[in-house]
């Protein structure tokens, strides 16, 4: 596989320019509705309970009772233990169930355990599997192992969509991020995803731009569309709009669907709802106007 150099100065300047676009009025409303429909509404905490997952599922189907015409989100993203529950709650709603697997977030378990993890969530009915790559092996230069493991996970996924988490916050350089993206795409990822959300920095615009370039080059080479999921650290509607502008101008309108682009976030939903309500009613909202889940 050719190694693509990354011009970090250029990438950062380009990403910064996307963040300066002014999206207002009707365009902003459309963009925020689109961002909502691309959301993987996420809860990945040790203290998650069936009640919290149920509340999250209700919110996924109808994000805000006061604005019933809003689209549902793309998916809920939960730990393996809650897949069956989420699947039951979301049956027939069009909202997909994503689960993290492969010993998320560290991935530092034997491969057999990680594969068993994947098998369990697929058996429980997960539509999408979010795996973590072996960063230790990647940084040690052992790309074969990383690639091999992704292939094995992909086989185990059967029909479920595979999102490959690179954990860019641990990959040190843009070049590494580009290489990891290329490697994940070659190994069979349906989506590449920035982060677990457990490591800072999580998604940043330059990092996502580097990954979008990998997706673009793969598409130009093969005609095959890989999806992108920035996750972690995107908490405002304004930031979400900047990402959408960047995707549109880097990959084109074809990627602006929940099939090709997702936001992994927990607090972004409420900011989107806040801004949409503000545009609809003219009143600024209070925190208690929206449910926390």
């Amino acid at each position: 596989m050719p190694i693509t150099a990354v011009d970090s100065v250029m990438v950062e300047a380009e990403a910064a320019a996307f963040a300066k676009r002014s999206v207002k009025g009707e365009a902003a409303t459309q963009g925020m509705r689109m961002a909502l429909s691309m959301l993987d509404l996420t809860t990945l905490e040790g203290k998650d309970s069936p009640q919290k997952v149920r509340a999250l599922c209700r919110k996924a189907v109808q994000p805000c009772g006061a604005m019933p015409d809003l689209p549902h989100v793309a998916a809920v993203c939960v730990y393996p233990a809650f897949v069956a529950l989420a699947k039951r709650e979301l049956d027939g709603t069009g909202v997909r169930v994503a689960s993290v697997a492969t010993a998320f977030p560290s991935g530092q378990y034997p491969l057999s355990v990680r594969l068993a993890d994947v098998r369990a969530v697929v058996d429980a009915g997960a539509d999408e599997v979010d795996m973590v790559i072996n960063r230790g092996a990647f940084l040690a230069g052992d790309r074969e192992t990383v690639s091999d493991e992704i292939r094995r996970v992909k086989e185990t996924c059967a029909g479920a969509h595979l999102k490959v988490i690179l954990e860019t916050g641990e990959l040190e350089t843009y070049e590494n991020i580009r290489r990891a993206s290329d490697l994940a795409i070659e190994a069979g990822a349906d989506f590449i995803k920035t982060s677990t959300g457990k490591i800072k920095p999580a998604a940043t615009m330059p990092v996502v731009l580097v990954m979008l370039h990998a997706i673009r080059d793969h598409y130009l080479r093969t005609g095959c569309m890989i999806g992108m999921k920035p996750a972690g650290g995107i908490s405002t509607a304004g930031a979400a709009l900047s990402y959408l502008v960047m995707v549109k101008e880097t990959l084109g309108d074809a990627w602006l669907t929940p099939d090709c682009f997702r936001f992994g976030a927990s607090s972004l939903a409420n900011d989107l709802l806040r801004q949409l309500a503000r545009q609809a009613t003219g009143s600024d909202t209070a925190k208690y106007d929206f449910s926390e889940a």
Partner: protein, 292 residues
């Protein structure tokens, strides 16, 4: 011979979340000296700046209300100290735009310092005045204690721009409310420099936020902002009072609008009164079983 130094005029900005940001819209208002020279530009806050200030105030409110009364008192006393330390600066800024000259301005600054000291003292005393031990017909202790309502918006009048601003901020602040204050539109300089007082007095970021701008533009947004819990204002025309009350009904804000002549702000008996605090507390009553 030393060359004469160039003056270093201040760039006045807003004070939000402990920082001094420019307005999001980039708009400013020109401030004219009494002799009609333009002496400064100050920020003209928009709805977005107000929203940022309210978000900062909301973020800071829990910790400010949970701080000990002693600490809130210390910090407010420190504000008084810092304000007193800037006595000359405030006096000359006020005198440059407010009719009445240096002598009037000096009196206003002194009264503002005294007002802060007074309410710094009330921080650990108001609950003894406003709380109650209620006689109930049953085997219970029944106690009512006052707690802060939350985020309070202050709308200062043009008369006595510093003293009125401080007088409207201090009562809600001392009980644990956080403040989003819109200073006088006609005489905004004191509001801008008061931010420096807050920033150097250990006031936690977000506890006091100061905006300058047009009252007519911002009052509807203040009225309709659902994350503001109370409003403290003075000397508003009837039309603006109506806008406030209509918007406030939406989330049941507590609206207190005083009507005070310029010299009434100096009346310590009227202005150092704990009943000025009462509109900004929520009464919490607890029942505790006693005996068998």
């Amino acid at each position: 011979m030393m060359a004469e130094r160039l003056a270093v005029p201040k760039t006045f900005k807003l004070y939000i979340g402990g920082k001094f940001p420019r307005t999001k819209s980039g708009r400013t208002i020109r401030v004219a000296h009494r002799d009609e020279r333009i002496i400064a530009h100050v920020g003209r806050a928009s709805r977005d700046d107000l929203a940022a200030a309210v978000a900062a105030a909301r973020g800071a409110q829990g910790a400010w209300a949970n701080a000990t009364a002693y600490l809130r008192g210390q910090i407010m006393y420190r504000m008084a100290e810092m304000l007193d330390g800037k006595h000359e600066e405030f006096t000359s800024l006020l005198a440059s735009t407010v009719p009445g000259g240096i002598r009037r301005a000096r009196k206003e600054v002194g009264a503002a310092v005294d007002r802060l000291v007074c309410f710094a003292g009330w921080t650990d005393k108001f609950s003894h005045v406003l709380a109650g031990c209620n006689p109930v017909a049953g085997p219970y202790d029944n106690v009512t204690v006052p707690e802060a309502v939350g985020v309070t918006a202050v709308i200062a009048p043009d008369e006595e721009p510093l003293l009125a601003l401080v007088s409207l901020i201090a009562p809600p602040l001392c009980v644990g409310n956080t403040i989003v204050a819109l200073g006088s539109g006609a005489h905004p300089l004191a509001t801008c420099v008061f931010g420096e007082v807050c920033a150097t007095s250990d006031v936690p970021p977000g506890v006091v936020n100061l905006l300058t701008g047009m009252r007519s533009e911002l009052i509807p947004h203040i009225a309709h902002h659902r994350d503001i819990d109370a409003i403290h204002a003075a000397n508003l025309p009837k039309s603006q009072r109506q806008v406030l009350r209509a918007g406030a009904a939406e989330n049941i804000k507590r609206v207190t609008v005083h009507k005070l002549a310029a010299d009434a702000w100096y009346d310590d008996n009227a202005c150092h009164n704990p009943w000025l605090i009462e509109p900004f507390v929520e009464m919490k009553t607890t029942w505790r079983p006693v005996g068998a």
